[in-house]
Every structure is written in C-alpha cells, then in structure tokens.
Symmetry: C2
Subunit: 728 residues, 2 copies
C-alpha cells in the first residue's frame, strides 16, 4: 500500500515502517515496583492492582530504605532482587530514573514504566527527559512514560497501574492507547458499565521514546486486537501514524481516534500538558478520513465506536431495520439515523405479510417496527418479529437494531427465565444473515448480571440511541472508507505519476513571487492561466489593452504586495485608450504613495471577465501532515460559505471530483438558474496540474494558491496566483 507515499516529498524511513516488538514491556512474568513505599498511594495502588488483577505475575518491591514494603520483603536495589524481573515499574525521584533504567537493563529487564513526573512537561525537566531517552537508546529497554500511570492489560491480566481500580471491564478485543493518563480510569469505568470487552489500555505519558503510535502499531499486529482507540493530544509522528493506519486497514483492525486540541484553549492546555502541538483540526480530519481512520469527538463515542468495530460489526451501508417496543424510541432512532445519513427502508412485502399475522391487530406494521406494549404479554413477540425482519430483510437492511428488550437488573425476579429469554434472542440473532445489535433507549450502564449474560451469549449492545447510532454510523463510514481506499490501491487511482511534472524552476526563490512570475510558472506546468501582459508604463498598458481587446483590469505586480486591493493596487473594468492610460497612472501613484518601499515589477493587464463561478485552489504545507489541497468557492463566497474541502496530496482525478461535489455550493458548478454548467473535468485537470507543479517542486515552497480560478462553462483559468518559496 502506498496511498500516501511521497506526501512529505520523500520516501518513508525504514524506522517508520518497522513495527516495534514490545512484548518485553507488555508481557512480563514478573514486575519490580521500584521506589515502592507505603506513603505513596501510587505505590499502594500499583501493588494492590498487581496482586488483585495479575495472579500469574511475581511482584517484587524495591526500596533503598526499607526492608519490608506492602507486607513483602523489599530488595535494596533492582540488582538485589535475586530473581528474574521482566518489567520495572519506576516511582523513584526523577533524578535517579536514568541510572535506574541502566541498572534495569544490566539486570536483563526489557521493559520499564516510569510513573515519576517532572520531565519534559516542565521547563527544568526537559534535559532530564533527553537523558532518559539516551539511556533507552543505550540499553534497548522499552520505556512507557515518563509521567504515565502504566497500563492495564485486561486480557492477559497484567496490571502495572498506579491508580485505584475498584474493578475491571471484561476482557475483549477493544484496545486503547491514551496520551492522557487521567482519562484511563474514566475509560475503564465506562467500559465496565457498558459491558465493553477490553484488551489493552495503555497511557503513554510524556512519550520520551515510545509514542502512542508505537504502542498501537504493536497492538495492531495481534490477532487478539479487534480495534484500537487512540486518545491523541498531538500527532508527533505522522509517518509512523500513516504506517499504523495502512497496516490497520490491511488487517481490518480499525483505528479510532479521539483528537483533542481543536479549540484554541484546548491547544494551550495541550501545550502545557504534553508540550506538543496538535495539527490544524480540519486538516487532521481530512487526513484521518483519507487514511481510513475513524475520528470521534467524545469519550462516549470513542468507547462505543471502538467496541462496536472490535466486535467485527461492518455495516456495508446505512439501511437500518428497527424492532422496538416504544413508538417514541422509533422516532428518536429515525431522527438520529437521518442526522447520521442513514435510512430506514420500508419493509419488503413478504415481511409485511408475516409480521401482520404475528403482531396484534392494532399495531402498525412498518420499519421502524413498534411491537407495542403487547411484548409485556408475549415476551417472544419482539424476538419473532426480529427473526422475520432478519429472514426477509437480508437484501434490504445492512443492520437490525433490536430495542425491544429490558436489560436485566442486578437481581432479576426470575434469573432462569431471563437467561432463557436472552438465550433465545442470541439464538435468533445468530441464525440471521443481517447483523443484529441490541440497543438500549438510553445510555445507562449494565448490571453485573446483564454484563455477564450478554458477554456469555456474545450479544452486542449499543448504549442508547444517541451514542449508539453515532457508533453505527462510524462503523458504516469505516467500512465504506476501507473499501474506497483499498479500491484505490488496487486500481492505482491515487498513484499519479508526479514525476512526469516538469521539475524546472528549482529552487524557487524564498518568499512570495510576484503575480506575473507565479502565473508564468504555473502556466509552464500546464495550469490554464488567463491571457495577460506585464507592462511598465502607460503606453505599454494601452497597447496591452488593445491586444487583449475590450474591457480590462489593471493590477499592481510586486512580490512585496500580497493583498493588492488593500493598497489600491487593482482597477477593474477599464475600456478605451485614455481610460487605460489614466488607470495606469493613477494606480502607480496610489501604490507608490501607500507602500513606497515595495519592489514593483510593473502592472499586469488582463481581460476583465466578471461572469462565471470563482474557485479558490490552494496547496498548503501542514506542519504535521505535509502538503494538503484546499478547494472551495472563491470571491465573495469564500467569506459567505466558509466551506472548503481538504485532502492530503497526492490526489487523483476522482478525489478532486469528489471534493468539488462535496462542497456546499456544488450546485453552482452544475449551473443553477440558467447559467451554463461548469466543465468539471477541465477544473479537475487544472487542479491536478497545480498539485503536480507543487509536488514537483519538492519542499521548495510554503504555499501555492490560485484565487480565483474562474470557471465559465468550458473556460477554466487562473485569474490570480500566489506562490511562496521556502527558505532552503
């Protein structure tokens, strides 16, 4: 797979491709708590968690000052433990940590968790974090942290974790990696309440060496992993993340990301928290989409979506069938489904017939199906109805939602009856060609009884309409996105030969080029550009206007003036020799008065063409993700619509067509109100010529923009361009 190769203009490093083997960190048979002390709750908790949740793991305490800690004999140092240790869980004062890592490695320890804080997240700890990283490189030890609480491997019962855990969720295929340790406990409690089966939960802390991406890349290789959720404050390693995403897509083990730092305040909070900057959120969203990664925006959506995908739910489309015992809930589902771009198709005739004979006479047989309160009288009714919809609806529905159940309380009146009832549901569900999900009307937690029963019966349950349908929609988008991206891979649609672009004009001069220079460069790369002349006196302007014919526009041309209108550097709609000469003189006088220091290349004379639709086409260099194409409607509509499509480069013709079609003003190109339709193919060709030019220039530019690109029927042409060269 090479969907996003070349994006940063170079081949990906081998390091980025290699998947770290972190088994020495994550699969220890023995753990040493270094700096163990009863005075620290972290130490108390870590000891208690290992004792309680890691029965197969030998736990040693290391304390330089006490012979007994947490009721066990403590060793004075790691070297003094006297038994093999696989993992060091380090809580010692920060200055001692680098040497402790060296000592650990010398004793054959392959993994370390450093809980101690005061490293890269503080001004005076940065040097120490660099020392830590150096010790890691020296020794080859795998380090999680520092400033992290550790991890909770529910599936393998490995819980080196410094916060109190009243209980754990069930083991399962949903793994999570969080850059925020503070959210690990809330996540566990939500997973437990919702009956989410969890594999690994790791907090990466300051990520001195191992990043959340590294951990995820380790996890994605495991067959036990169903899906991976990542809580990310920053993308520190775009290349590694791309490799993760590609591999995850290949293995169909979805990656779900909850990126924070969309708002200004959040970014400030993130900077103080981990010292890293999140990429611009719109660009990040666009990149994630193109990588087949699911983006979510709340903890609840994060957990529910990762769980659903980890259970192998892959709806091929958004056609839902619903069986409910509440008319109100049917309407809630219908509204929410519409919000999420899903539909509730009509029942096929054979289903109608069967359901009519099944349901009471006063019920309305339709999708969503309300089996009515009669389910209280006949508890089999909803199950039988679901069976009919599943049998008759395999071609009509991508997913059935089964709402007509009451999650059992902690102590059901008749546990055997309850078990048999849900076993019947599970049996019915398993025999159907359409996947069926249980869905509560509201996102409440399950009782232990319900959680255990559902796990035993392998029933998948969505926590309420709001979060549940969002998770379903995410699963649907994942499935569709994976197909689209893998289709690309097969057809090579994304693999445009960018090398065919002319590589002339390198290196670009630093800073903005004048408009004339920019247009000339782009024209040389096959971007259609309006006819124009660069002139340096009034007579030249008049001659140019005559050549071009009719109404013209005059624009000042200077590498120092980015916003020409603001300094009086544009005169529109001039016609006739005298008017043109006058316009030239006036324009030069105004500009030289307003910006006397600007270097002037002359005045650009071009035809005045008011009609058509104006696009803006920009290629920007995102600090994290590299070059991205930004497409939108230009002119007045830029301000009004504030609506652009973004994709990382390179893009295919199909990509650009999709981007144009997805704009809110897409109708403008199709020719509303009697206007001629714009030639979309010609627009696409012009945009691709522009992206080829930018990619051909390698890293030599900061920004390449055409605004506006005018589209009038089959005529597509750049009316203005900005190219900014990059410091070498």
């Amino acid at each position: 797979m090479a969907i996003l190769d070349n994006v940063t203009g170079g081949a990906r490093s081998e390091a980025a491709r290699a998947t770290p083997d972190l088994s020495t960190l994550f699969r220890p048979r023995s753990v040493a708590l270094v700096g163990a002390t009863e005075r620290s709750m972290w130490s108390v908790n870590a000891f208690e968690n290992l004792r309680r949740y890691s029965p197969g793991i030998a736990v040693h305490c290391v304390s330089p000052s006490r012979a007994t800690v947490h009721g066990v004999t403590a060793a004075a140092s790691l070297s003094a433990v006297g038994e093999p240790v696989d993992l060091a869980y380090i809580m010692s004062p920060r200055d001692t940590v680098p040497d402790l890592l060296r000592e650990a490695a010398a004793n054959g320890i392959g993994g370390a968790v450093v809980l101690t804080a005061g490293f890269g997240e503080t001004d005076d700890g940065r040097a120490l974090q660099r020392e830590l990283a150096a010790a890691v490189r020296e020794t080859g030890i795998h380090l999680l942290g520092p400033n992290g609480s550790g991890y909770v491997d529910v599936r393998h019962q490995v819980v080196p974790f410094g916060l109190a855990l009243p209980n754990l969720p069930d083991p399962g295929g949903a793994s999570f990696v969080l850059q925020s340790g503070g959210l690990m406990k809330p996540l566990l409690s939500l997973a437990r309440a919702w009956g989410v089966g969890v594999g690994m939960l790791a907090g990466t802390g300051n990520e001195a060496t191992l990043s959340s991406t590294d951990v995820a890349r380790y996890l994605v290789e495991s067959e036990e992993t169903g899906a991976i959720g990542l809580f990310l404050e920053a993308f520190r390693d775009a290349e590694g993340f791309r490799a993760l995403a590609e591999r995850a897509l290949e293995l169909d083990r979805p990656v779900v990301v909850l990126p924070v730092g969309r708002s200004e305040v959040a970014r400030q909070a993130a900077m103080s928290h981990t010292g890293a900057l999140a990429g611009d959120s719109a660009v990040t969203s666009a990149v994630l989409r193109e990588l087949g990664v699911v983006e979510v925006s709340s903890m609840e959506e994060f957990v529910a979506t990762t769980e659903l995908l980890s259970r192998g739910v892959r709806p091929r489309g958004g056609r839902l069938g619903v069986v409910s015992a509440s008319g109100g809930s049917c309407e809630l589902v219908a509204d929410k489904a519409a919000d999420e771009g899903m539909t509730l198709p009509r029942l096929p005739p054979e289903a109608l017939e069967e359901l009519r004979s099944l349901l009471p006479a006063f019920s309305h047989v339709q999708n969503p199906l309300d089996v009515t309160g009669y389910a209280t009288v006949n508890p089999r009714l909803p199950v039988d109805a679901a069976a009919v919809m599943g049998r008759t609806g395999a071609e009509h529905y991508d997913l059935l939602l089964f709402q007509a159940f009451v999650a059992p309380p902690e102590q059901p009146a008749d546990p055997d009856f309850t078990r048999a009832h849900f076993a019947a549901i599970a049996d019915t569900v398993k025999g159907l060609d359409v996947p069926v999900l249980l869905q509560d009307e509201v996102g409440v937690g399950l009782s232990d009884f319900a959680r255990e029963l559902f796990a035993e019966l392998d029933l998948v349950r969505l926590p309420g309409v709001e979060v549940g349908l969002r998770a379903v929609a995410n699963a649907m988008r994942y499935t569709g996105g994976r197909e689209r991206l893998r289709g690309k891979e097969r057809t090579g649609a994304a693999a445009r030969p960018t090398s065919s672009a002319p590589l002339a004009e390198m290196p670009l001069p630093e800073g903005p080029l004048s408009e004339a220079r920019a247009l000339e460069l782009l024209a040389g790369h096959g971007v259609p550009v309006m006819p124009y002349r660069l002139v340096s006196d009034a007579a030249g302007a008049v001659e140019a206007a005559r050549l071009l014919g009719g109404r013209v526009v005059l624009k000042i041309c200077s590498p120092d003036i980015a916003h020409k209108s603001d300094v009086g550097g544009v005169v529109l709609d001039v016609e006739g020799d005298d008017a043109v000469a006058e316009a030239y003189t006036g324009l030069m006088a105004t500009v030289t008065a307003r910006v006397p220091e600007a270097r002037l290349d002359g005045v650009l004379v071009a035809p005045f063409r008011p009609g058509g639709v104006e696009l803006i086409v920009g290629i920007n260099r995102d600090p994290v993700w590299g070059p991205v194409l930004v497409l939108g409607f230009g002119g007045v509509l830029v301000e009004v619509l504030a609506d652009v499509a973004i994709r990382p480069l390179p893009v295919s013709a199909r990509d650009v067509t999709e981007m144009l079609g997805g704009l809110r003003g897409a109708a403008l190109l199709r020719g509303v109100r009697g206007r001629a339709a714009g030639d979309v193919d010609a627009v696409v060709a012009a945009v691709l010529a522009l992206t080829d030019a930018a990619l051909g220039w390698g890293d030599g530019w900061d920004s390449v923009e055409v605004n506006p690109m005018r589209v009038d029927g089959t005529v597509v042409e750049a009316l203005d361009a900005l190219v900014v060269g990059r410091p070498a």
Copy 2:
C-alpha cells in the same frame, strides 16, 4: 405577558389561559385497579408498584369475575368497593371503558388512568376514543390516556404505573411528561443512574382529553417543580403550549422539550403512534426559541438539561472555570465548550498567584486548571484550588466545573473518609459566589453510595463532558433567552401596533395574485417596490422603457404563472426601442405557446438592476404555529446557502435585525470586498411593512413573499412578489 398574542390572528381563548387543576388525578389517597387480574403483567406490576412505592395509598382491586386478585379481596365493580376511591386505574377491555368512566364519576372518583389500548391509535378505535372524550366532558373526570401506562410521582410516592420498576430515582424537582409511554422506564433508569431528582413522570398516551401541555401546565404551578421536560411527538395545542411557556418563563420554571419527528421516517412513525403530525421542525425550533423553551435532541441531553435547570442553575453567560485532575479532560472540555459557544477565560492575576503557591512546581497554572496527579497525594488540593478560583473569579466566571473527584464506588474502602472529603467539597462550594458543578469525565451512572451522598450534600453533578456541557450550554441559553424575552415584555419591543397597518383590500381573492397586483398591494402597505409599468402591447412596452430609462427587464404578468422563467416569461437586460418591442413580441409568443390556458394580465416592464444583494422575505402560515417570517439571502444564494432565519410573527425591528445578523451570509450586507454596505434599517423597515401587511390581512392569505428584495446601499426594493389568498 403577551409576547405572542395575535399570532393566530385572534385573541387567545379563556380555555387556553385557564390552568387545569389535576389534583384529583395526581394526588389520590386511594386507587382502584379496575380489571385487575393475575394473568396480566400490567395488573401485577401496577399492584406491586403501588404496594412498594405508595405506602400511604389504599389500593383496591376490581374484578367482575374473581373474588381475590393479587392476594386481596376484589370488588365486583367500582360501585361495590365500599370505601372512598380517588383514582381509577383502568385495564378493562376497551369497549367497557366509557361506561366505567361514568361509573367512576358516579362514585365520586375524580381521576382515571386508562391503560387499555385500541382507541385513537387504530382505525377502528377512533369512534370509541370520541366516546371516551364525551364521557369525560359529561362527568368532569380527569383522564390520563387511553393507551398510557400511568404516572410515577416520586416526590409524593404515588405510582399507578403498569410496568415493572426495579427501583425509583430520588425525589427532586425535575418533572417529565412524555407522549411516549415506552420511554418512561428508560427515563427512570437514566434518572436513577445519574442521581437526577425527579418529581413527577407522566405518560399521556393518546391524550383523548388531557394533553401533555395540560399536565405540564398543572405541574408548572407547583413550587415543588424546578423544571419540566416534555417529550413531544406532536404539538396538538399551540395556544395551550404558548400559555404554558409564558407562565413557565414568568415563574422561572424552565420547560425543556425533546421534539421527535424531525425526519420523514420519524413523522411516519409518529403518525402511526399517536395519529398526530409534528410541525415542521425548523419552524418549531424557531417558535420554541421565541417562547424561551429549551429544545434538546437526545434522551440523555433531555434528562441532564431538565435536571440542571431544576436545580436552579442559571449561568448568566458562557464563561467557564475548570478544575480537573486530568490534562486530557481539560482539552476535551475546552473543545466541547468552544463547540457550544462558551469560553474558558484566563485566570485573573490574584488567582494565578494564589494557585502557584498552592500547586506543585511542575504544574501549569491556567484555566482549565489541571491540578495534576498530585491530587492522589493531597486530596485537599483540588478543593483548595476550586476555592481560590471561586473566590477570585466571581467576576470572571459564570460557572465552575469541578472535575477533580472520583465518584465513590458502591463500597468505598473508607466510607467515612469519602463522606468527609465530599462534605469538604460541598462546604467549599456553598461559600462561593460562582456556582460550582461536579463533572465526571464520562457519563457513567453513580453507585448508590455516591447517589445518596451527593443528594444529601446537595451537590449537582454533570454526567460527563459531552452531555454535561451540552446541558450547561442549554442552561446558559435558557437564562439569556429569558432575559431577552422578559426585556421585550418590559420595553414592549414586540408589541408593534399591527392595527396601524392599512386593512384595505380585504378579503384577498383566493389563489395567487398576479405579480403586478401583488406589488401594488404591497406598495400600498408601505413596502418599497421597484418602479414598473404594466403594459399590454409592444408600443406600451417601448413607452414604459423610455419612461424608466436605460436597461429594462420584461416579465409576463399572470395569476396562473408562478415560475415565470420556466415558461420563457422573463427577458433580462433589454435596451433601446427596437429591442424592447422585439422582446415584448417574442415573450408573448413564447408564453402563449407554452401555457395557452394561462390568464395574462400583460407584461411588466421594470428597470434592469443587476447589482446589490438579493434577499428573500417570506411569510408562511405554519399549520401548528401560525404565521412565521422567513428571511434569507435570495437569488443564487438561496440554493447555495440554504440558510434562513425563522421567527413567529409579530416581530420587532430588533428581531428582524437579529435575524439578518444571524444569517451565514450576514457579511454580504455589511459590504464585503469593497461593495457598499446595505442599509440594514431600511431592510428592517421594508420587512416590517411586509409583516404588517400580512397580519393586517388576518387569515385571508396563505403565503406572502418578496423574492428578491434587492438591497444596494440605501436602496431597498421588492423586485418580485407573490401573494396567495386563502379560501374563505
């Protein structure tokens, strides 16, 4: 209060103003279960619920066939009970219900719940429901239902309810009225899990006589009510709802509405469910906003918002202070706050100083404040930090969110310590001028221990960031909306004297008027209209064009042609005698060929004025809410922006100004890209003249629309108009 008087063109009826006294229905001392039988789970549940949750209420069973039901002696009929009965809970076969109501009334029973289904929700039950309504009118009994499960009055321990209830939420000030009985149990379980204090929960079923609005109007009068949540499938009684909203606003007991049926499928589901149609959702949203009613879109948001408002939380703005022990959660809050239009202002200098001395050296002192994992070492730290922010931030924050707690599990290790810890939080909170809310990082349920402790300490807790901040934003909008609406009331800003509008031209003829007639009518009411001439031959057209001067436009004028362009009925930009004459002839030929049956009034000649910004201004008659003003950008932008502002009539100048300012393209009127700014006051005056005209015509019209209304600097004029008269 008369914010929305005259909206349907007449005075509100006395019936709509009167608040029903439903105490005979909702405050019984004795209940008779009519049609009680052990074979029905409804009967079993209703009996069990009353026994378990209504210790002060005498329960009687009525069965025509059995001497003993549910272990108690049953009476053969209501008349045979032999003791006073206040409420009849009727589960008998549907045909017997009207007579049972009469029998109940004859025995002095003032209230009835009818659980039996098969009435208005089915084709063959409609007549029976009418009979039921007739029996209610005859007897004066208050009837909840039919086809409803009853109600749960948690506060007064009155639970005539037919579904099994494993437990109840705590008593409190949040009351709920649901048109969907099937959502009552989910709501109770969510309220219990989240520690929401509930007063009354009622399901209104088919609403044969008592509507959810009636029940809400009863509840709103009680001092025990903090806020009322309404789940509505349909607004059946716009007048009553307005009265409810006005009274609620007056008493500051907020109304929160979860309206379903926004999507087409949901509307179909609603029709089958209750036989009623929801109003158009955009209009409904606009009306709710103008009534000071909070609209929500999910069950979770519904419950959390009603709870928050019921606890008296009234943030005067969106300035949040946050104390957290998780950097990740700080960022989540910041992102979500930005999404909801709230801010996290910087810490004032005095807070910075105090907090720096309080927190560990490695922490970053800012808002949102991450007190770091050090809270594990010093549990007082977050409380002290919150105290500093509360003391120093009264002028800077409208609300403090306190996240730095862990909700206690079912069995805390040290319950006394936990109690003391939260008591200290509660003490701190109570002494501050800024309201403080606890906020979990995720929306999990509380343990019984936590629920009881928080209730005892009167701590308000938000269920997670996503739902919690949405609820806070809703409370903020409610507070702001109430102030705005009550400000209007005081200044009389909404009370435009519509009677001053000329009432001439009544009644309007039925169906669409021709454009010339519509423009003439509107001009007569003070709406600025472009100059035009209606002509009936080519010579007339030429003369008109000369009079108007310059470039003109010719448009066919016919009451039968609504879309002139579609039949070739418009010629734009014509200049010169010959061209005008030719255009006239060509236009008439085309139109008579394409729509030979159309009545033609002639051709309208008007100046061709391509510049400026085009608005669309329409007044529509909503089937539920009456006349509403719809304002947006016209021309091409109608299609592209799909962005309109809607408000119910009448509107004030301030309303229209706000509507214009809220449009996505508002910048267009402020004059982007060197265009002259539009004269907003002139636009407002034109819009008000139009609304005055429509209101002056009473019920005589179906639709009044100007499209486009051209705005070019100070020039505002209707270029085209449509007025459709209504069948008398």
